[in-house]
């Protein structure tokens, strides 16, 4: 299979009023790799993700995906482009079942036409059965298929995170944007997540915003370090860990705390 070029940002600048949230940020998320975006609070990580998924339009700079420039990126176009994102707040629809949540994510893959869907045409019914199977398979892969008929609100946090990941994965995206997937997880759950993320790279590119340095260092192939909206370092986890600018930005906190853990997964 031909390797499609990944996702790039070139010289992306975003200002809110007088505040510069991102300043000439460039990065590349390559297929089959995990790109980690790290930085202290307020460094612009979330803004960067919001640009990547079309919530925020940059003042200047360019985005490309699979070698094509993304002109005006609108969030609802993403799914069709093969890009999925999870949210820090998970954003599960609490008043739908877990299965329906995932079905919304699966929806655009084999969607029947609007009118045939509305009228329940046979083709639409067939499509729906197929989507249902895929949604269940996605839940099963993450070990939460047993909760398909429950409301996400009734599940413990770690399971809800899995549901939101299943929802992002069900459409088989080529680029997965993960916003703090490890927050609120126990050590065990985090190790499990790390393995899972490594497992995803044979299918897709992954871009990860994360605070937990253990996870970042063990899972990522490449890192981009942001501070005050600027890229202060890029490279492999080992390079970044030894970078003086990074040490200064973090004041020696998390990066140095666990220097011995290499690639675990």
């Amino acid at each position: 299979m031909e390797e499609p070029a990944g996702f790039t940002m070139r010289d992306v600048t975003v200002t809110f009023g007088g505040l510069t949230a991102l300043s000439e940020v460039s990065l590349t998320a390559r297929p089959r790799q995990v790109l980690g975006v790290i930085g202290p609070n307020g460094a612009g990580k979330t803004t960067l993700f919001n640009v990547a998924c079309g919530f925020v339009t940059p003042d200047s700079g360019a985005l490309t995906w699979r070698g094509r420039q993304l002109q005006r990126l609108r969030p609802h176009d993403l799914a069709g482009l093969g890009i999925a994102r999870t949210l820090q707040g998970l954003g599960l629809f609490d008043r739908m079942t877990v299965l329906d949540n995932v079905l919304v994510g699966a929806d655009h893959i084999g969607r029947a036409g609007f009118w045939s869907g509305l009228l329940g045409a046979p083709r639409a019914t067939r499509d729906e059965a197929r989507l249902r199977e895929r949604a269940l398979a996605a839940l099963d892969e993450l070990g939460v298929a047993a909760y398909a008929d429950r409301s996400p609100a009734s599940l413990p946090y770690a399971l809800r995170k899995k549901v939101s990941l299943a929802r992002a994965l069900v459409a088989e995206p080529a680029l997965l944007l993960l916003d703090e997937p490890a927050s609120g997880l126990s050590d065990e759950e985090m190790a499990d997540l790390g393995e899972r993320l490594r497992g995803l790279t044979d299918r897709m590119a992954v871009m990860l915003v994360e605070h937990h340095m253990d996870l970042v260092m063990s899972v990522c192939d490449d890192l981009v370090v942001l501070d005050f909206g600027r890229v202060i370092a890029t490279g492999s986890p080992a390079d970044v860990r030894d970078d003086p600018a990074v040490r200064a930005a973090y004041l020696g906190e998390a990066v140095e705390a666990e220097p011995s853990r290499g690639k675990g997964a």
Partner: protein
Amino acid sequence: MQQFVNTVLGGLTLGMVYAAFALALVLIWRSTRIVNFAQAPMAMVTTFIALQIIEAGHSYWLGFAAALLAGLVLGAVVERVLIRPVEGKAEINAVILTLGLFIVIHALAAVIFGNRYRSFPAAFGIRGIEVGDTTIALTGFGIFTIVAVLVVMGLLVLLFRFTDVGLRMRAAAFNQEVARLLGVRVGRMLTLGWALASLVGSLAGLLIAGGSLVHPGYMDSVVVYGFVAAVLGGLDSPGGAVVGGLLLGLSLSLVSGYVGSQLVALAALAILMVVLLLRPQGLFAQGRERRV
């Protein structure tokens, strides 16, 4: 006893119409957090369209269908043209816009259709059904009213529960940003939501009008009752709107039958106040209370 039965039957029939109207308000509230006060004059206009068609010599059913279709289109147009530009800003802007629309449609209708009472035909008899040797207050048209509202509600449930479009509409109503990320074209879903709401509102308009008099203001009190019913049900819950509508219809009918018909509007407001004071989240809403 007979008076009680008649009062209850009348209340249920009226309650069905309030339920339909409340449902129209809830459909829009759920997806956009806007109370569409213009729902009343919109339903009035579509009813007048039906009346024009019927008075031109066509069948009642052609007028009926045309009014529902006009409601669908009018809802979509109002959302696309007027509401969309203020989407994403404070909801109060859109609510004030619907109030403005209320006045504008009223004025236009008075100019176009005339500011006078006109009688609107009913599809079925409006005389009570005879049971044995007594006549009960359930009319043919009353039965039609109940059936029509139930059918429309059933179709909406099917749409929302069992179709792909319904799933996307629910997703868009619950969380627009997330829905967008998942590829849902939220704008289209909102337009469709307004169109459906307006269709249900039009149905309520036709049912209230049947066998009675219409003029440009005939729906104005219904928007108040529909709103009270929707608040009773929690504003967020379609099922709640239906139960709220029935409860309100029943209560108002009892007030009208046993206390005095001049107190009906007052009773509706009293119910609204009691609900807002004691159970602002409505009788059936799950979760937090709403700003009303």
